[in-house]
């Protein structure tokens, strides 16, 4: 029943009989990483085998999306990667807009870039904060969370909600910027680097941190590609693959910014790629704010965008237009499309199938976290439990995105 590494290796004392231990990590894990479960077989503290199990937060995104209209899917997308809800909103409406064949306005693209990068900063702050807390350094948690609260204040004034924003719409945004947004973001541009520099300076040369993260959970680029890794974890292995640069959607290539890349693909590189991505995101936000164009934020297409309230209450055509868009949904031509954006964890793809009505036939989410967590047993095999905890934090598995 039990095989032991000790008997196999012939190590330790003569005639000792040891047994391996089978232990559950999760699914009631400390709140940091949600509902992940790994069954590990241990020889002492060393992991011999690991069996991951997911699905504890399976909430039926696909089946739920088939029930309503194309616009009603947007609140579901908020709750995929709930640490960076705006990026999910942007990714989904981009896929539907491509199927409709509409192009959003310049102002809408710039605003989507700004809020997308703020959202990415929020996600990286949580990822870095909770990862370092699991390693044992609690102070950084407070720094990153206070900064998140300040970003939340700006986002809340714009979108109405802190976490589950539901801000983008097909063809544009829910509302234009409010009066305090630009000033608020300029304040953030001054405050965020201070906090991130403090976090970085606390851990960068810390002996304990280096021992716990350098060389832990290393993976090569070829293997990462075979696992389907994208995002900061793939960039930590040395490959500068970023959909914002390669596809250049929303005008990302008009701004001057770089893609941070690691060397060894270990936990240290993954943490620091995220930290440097925060700095690059701040550069993008600053340039986008400086160049923010004027004009309308929604496209002028009555098949897609709700008419202004004056028209809805003023004349019968506006009322009927509004009614049809709400009750039947936006009519998307029949067909199939897969579109992807660079979310905080990697390539977030939406595979949408339309039957020519306002009701989605299928919306499948290509989850970046699924590819990352599938490789987890490979990363922890032969390592100790404490390394397993450091590695899971560095992968930034968000259960909402993993289980959908």
């Amino acid at each position: 029943m039990t095989t032991t590494a000790s008997e196999a290796k012939g190590a330790r004392g003569e005639g000792w009989r040891t047994e391996s231990m089978v232990l559950n990590l999760g699914p009631s894990h400390p709140a940091m990483h949600g509902t992940l479960r790994v069954l590990v077989e241990l020889d002492g503290e060393t992991i011999l085998h690991a069996i991951p199990e997911i699905g504890y937060l399976h909430r039926g995104f696909e089946k739920g999306a088939e029930k309503g209209t194309w616009t009603k899917v947007i609140p579901f997308t908020d709750r995929l990667n709930y640490c960076s809800a705006l990026l999910n909103n942007i990714g989904y409406v981009k896929a539907v807009e491509k199927m409709l064949g509409v192009t959003v306005t310049e102002r809408c693209r710039a605003i989507r870039v700004i809020i997308g990068e703020l959202s990415r900063i929020m996600d990286h702050l949580i990822a870095v904060g909770t990862n370092i807390v699991d390693i044992g350094a609690l102070t950084n948690f407070w720094y990153t969370f206070n900064t998140r609260e300040r970003i939340y204040n700006v986002v809340e004034e714009l979108c109405g909600a802190r976490l589950t924003t539901c801000y983008t719409r097909i063809g544009g945004l829910a509302n234009d910027l409010n009066d305090t947004f630009v000033a608020g973001v300029r304040e953030l541009l001054k405050e965020i680097p201070v906090a991130v520099r403090e976090v970085e300076s606390l851990v960068r040369d810390n002996r304990i941190f280096l021992d716990r993260t350098v060389g832990v959970g290393a993976i090569t680029t070829d293997e990462a590609i075979s696992w389907g890794w994208t995002g900061p974890c793939l960039r930590a292995t040395g490959l500068a693959h970023d959909l914002r640069k390669r596809d250049g959607y929303d005008g990302y290539n008009d701004y001057d910014w770089d893609v941070p890349v690691g060397e060894n693909g270990d936990t240290y590189d993954r943490i620091f790629v995220r930290i440097y991505e925060i700095y690059e995101s701040l550069r993008i936000v600053e340039q986008a704010l400086d160049r923010l164009p004027g004009g309308p934020v929604n496209i002028d297409d009555p098949r897609v965008v709700l008419p202004p309230k004056g028209e809805v209450y003023g004349n019968i055509e506006g009322l009927m237009n509004h009614f049809k868009l709400i009750m039947e949904g936006i009519i998307v031509p029949a067909g199939e499309h897969y579109d992807a954006t660079e979310a905080a964890n990697g390539e977030l793809g939406f595979h949408c199938v339309s039957d020519g009505s306002g009701n989605p036939y299928k919306v499948k989410v290509r989850s970046p976290s699924l590819a990352l967590f599938a490789a987890y047993p490979r990363l922890i095999k032969g390592r100790m439990i404490s390394d397993a905890i450091a590695i899971i934090g560095s992968l930034n598995i968000i259960a909402g995105e993993l289980d959908r």
């Binding site: 095989t3 089978v22 699914p27 069954l39 077989e41 085998h49 690991a50 069996i51 199990e53 997911i54 699905g55 399976h58 039926g60 696909e62 089946k63 739920g64 029930k67 491509k98 199927m99 293997e223 590609i225 075979s226 696992w227 389907g228 994208t230 490959l239 693959h241 390669r246 596809d247 067909g335 199939e336 499309h337 897969y338 579109d339 992807a340 390539e347 793809g349 595979h351 199938v353 039957d355 036939y361 299928k362 499948k364 290509r366 699924l370 590819a371 599938a374 490789a375 047993p377 490979r378 095999k381 289980d403 959908r404």
Partner: protein, 174 residues
């Protein structure tokens, strides 16, 4: 262009090709799907090294002649290009060969497609449910599964059968 290269190499495995919203789509014969995928991955000019997604669509409400359509999404790093490989499967026997071993990501993606739609990937060493619990009966993303029909679970899975497979080396070579 990809479709022509595939057809030149694999003949009638590729039934038809088209382009949709900038992505080339290859409709292939289900029994030959792994040949097409291997060609797309290994050909040096194409080099579709990443398997992004495997999913299925239940076309029963669209009146398709064969109920299920499995879709593979591949990405080529060097060409910065995507391709979709699709295969139609009948309701009575929704089977096709597994891409397990070709990409490490195929393991869980195929398990999820089996879990939600009931597509059987022959040759997959561990085709068990991924998202729904072990006592779940049916395949919830099929159009004839009622969305509100929940199924209780009494005891969590102890995963010991999976551990035995891992000890025997049957799972993916980590």
């Amino acid at each position: 262009m990809i479709g022509e290269a595939a057809r030149a190499r694999l003949g009638d495995a590729v039934r038809e090709t088209r382009a949709e919203h900038g992505i080339e789509v290859l409709l292939v014969h289900p029994a030959r799907v792994t040949d097409v995928l291997r060609f797309l991955r290994d050909d040096p000019a194409l080099a579709f090294v990443m398997l992004l997604d495997v999913t299925a669509t239940d076309g029963i409400q669209l009146g398709w002649p064969e109920r299920f359509r499995v879709a593979y999404h591949l990405y080529s790093m060097v060409r910065n290009e995507r391709v979709r490989v699709i295969a139609n499967l009948p309701e009575a026997k929704p089977e096709l060969p597994s891409a397990f071993g070709m990409w490490k990501s195929a393991d869980w993606l195929e398990r999820e497609t089996y879990d939600q739609y009931g597509i059987v990937f022959t040759g997959h060493p561990n085709l068990v449910r991924l998202l729904n619990h072990k006592d779940f009966a049916g395949h919830p993303l099929r159009k004839d599964y009622d969305i509100k029909k929940g199924q209780w679970l009494s005891e969590p899975d102890d995963l010991m059968d999976q551990l035995e497979k891992a000890r025997a080396g049957l799972l993916a070579d980590y």
